[in-house]
Subunit: 344 residues, 2 copies
Amino acid sequence: MSEQRTEVATLGEFGLIDHLTKNFEIQNASTIVTVGDDAAVIDHFGKQTVITTDLLLEGVHFDLMYTPLKHLGYKSVVVNLSDVYAMNAIPTQITVSIGISNRFSVEALNEFYEGIHFACEKYGVDLIGGDTSASHKGFVISVTAIGEVAPDNFVKRSTAEKGDLICVSGDLGGAFLGLTLLEREKKIWLEHPNVQPDLEDEKYITGRLLKPEARKDIIAFFEQQQIKPTAMMDISDGLSSELLHICKQSNTGCRIYEEKLPIAEDSRKAAFKFGLDPTACALSGGEDYELLFTLKQEAYDKLVLNEEISVIGYITDAEEGTKIITKGGNTFDITAQGWTAFKA
Amino acid sequence: MSEQRTEVATLGEFGLIDHLTKNFEIQNASTIVTVGDDAAVIDHFGKQTVITTDLLLEGVHFDLMYTPLKHLGYKSVVVNLSDVYAMNAIPTQITVSIGISNRFSVEALNEFYEGIHFACEKYGVDLIGGDTSASHKGFVISVTAIGEVAPDNFVKRSTAEKGDLICVSGDLGGAFLGLTLLEREKKIWLEHPNVQPDLEDEKYITGRLLKPEARKDIIAFFEQQQIKPTAMMDISDGLSSELLHICKQSNTGCRIYEEKLPIAEDSRKAAFKFGLDPTACALSGGEDYELLFTLKQEAYDKLVLNEEISVIGYITDAEEGTKIITKGGNTFDITAQGWTAFKA
């Protein structure tokens, strides 16, 4: 964090936007009019447009005590891009609006926009608009992401069918364990301000929480292999919750296997350290921003080419319910609060 | 306001969204996927897509002491649609995200969404997504509006040219006078809670503030008369401020005439009552959501067909500055805080 402090008021609203967005370069031919007019203009040249939006509020969605502003900017973009990828689409533009109190300096906002810039560059999206406003209390962030998809190539949640394979990308539960760790360290620090936490060994789980990535690579793999999932969504509220959404909206049931759930070794170690069941963390921990999708069984041969994808079960008739088979061979109902059932 | 109070927690996040959006019908063929998936999908079938977003924060942008929630819902949509029209485009979809504290009941949110619904019906736009979230303090509203425009038929701020006529729709200053009145009545009421304000005679100016309209009719008139403005923006921060934006971005100057500024009789009366100069209110009062645009002089014959349009001046070379000629024949520089110069 820079030591200099420039008051936002010295720049004025328009000066502030100009200052914060001056390093952003346009990367997409679809961006016709960008920041600085009443609205932005996009031409997706025959493709369909995908839109998603998220509101992030200080104290509810993030805690500035342990969230670096640069990471927060990055994450604010990534969580929205994740929703675009979850439609089998490619994100192309974002708008970012912020509400800030006078406790934020220009230097602090520079850090936040550096994170946004970094995400824009990495994912190839253009910042095309937004709004900056005073806020009486707390930092308010609203991001809208726009993407494109070939006509009718989008994938909804409601179109899974009996017999489809259920797959997830990456690994699960890490972000929740990162949150558990940081909340614990925060509590310790508040009681003993002289104790500096050493989080070096916990980089994986804190990184999963503070700087998540959206699965651009999985959508690129689908394109390359000509795979189209039958249903898809991103995992922001936990696997159980999302799987129940897909089954409810598709009017199906499901069977998943505990032993197939992808859990990173670092997450497993952290769970045991905190006395938590890694399976429960994988099922109910949110914010991993992995993709959950269903596929026709014929796609299996292509799937195995990608180590980042795990097949965790299959879709059934609705009458068969939504179940998980444990390592011990027991069958449980999947619940959105799967937590309780699996607590170690 | 209904007397019943249902806690938001009884519905849960997804139940709440379902409840609040259940009466919204899709009106546009371009809306392919709507509320209930990771993102919405739009197909503008060869047209270009226009996007704008606004963040509205309680205590900064609105005061719930004198703002009915239904009007607030309506206005939150309208101010964004106004930005779409200001691009010479037709709004087609919106997303609405809200952050609410537990002081809001389901009944209160029903009122807010009734206003949104009313605006959607009136302007023919579809609610296609959004987000509801807890907020520790204050009501947070984020609206994104999406519209469409025939390829390259959009109108920017930066393309006014010397000799163009400067026009505004409707009349100016009313919303600011409505705000002045309501702030004054609020102060009186806080000191003397038994005095009920009678605002019956002030319906015009309070209506301009609390329930503004976007100028859909002007864009329809342009289409019908095959007029394309050379530059355009909506008047949210006051005429002076917006005119300076157009001149700066177009690298021009301007001359406008005080006697040509459109001011409603009700606004004029209210201004005198409050000891304010009506011209200052028209120049510097914000939130009228009228359109400010420039046109080639050849369009003048068509313009006079529309009583809702006033020609207030013309664009000059940048070197001639940005000036207003008063009724008395004096020439002043236009400033974004024109207020001081014209105070009665």
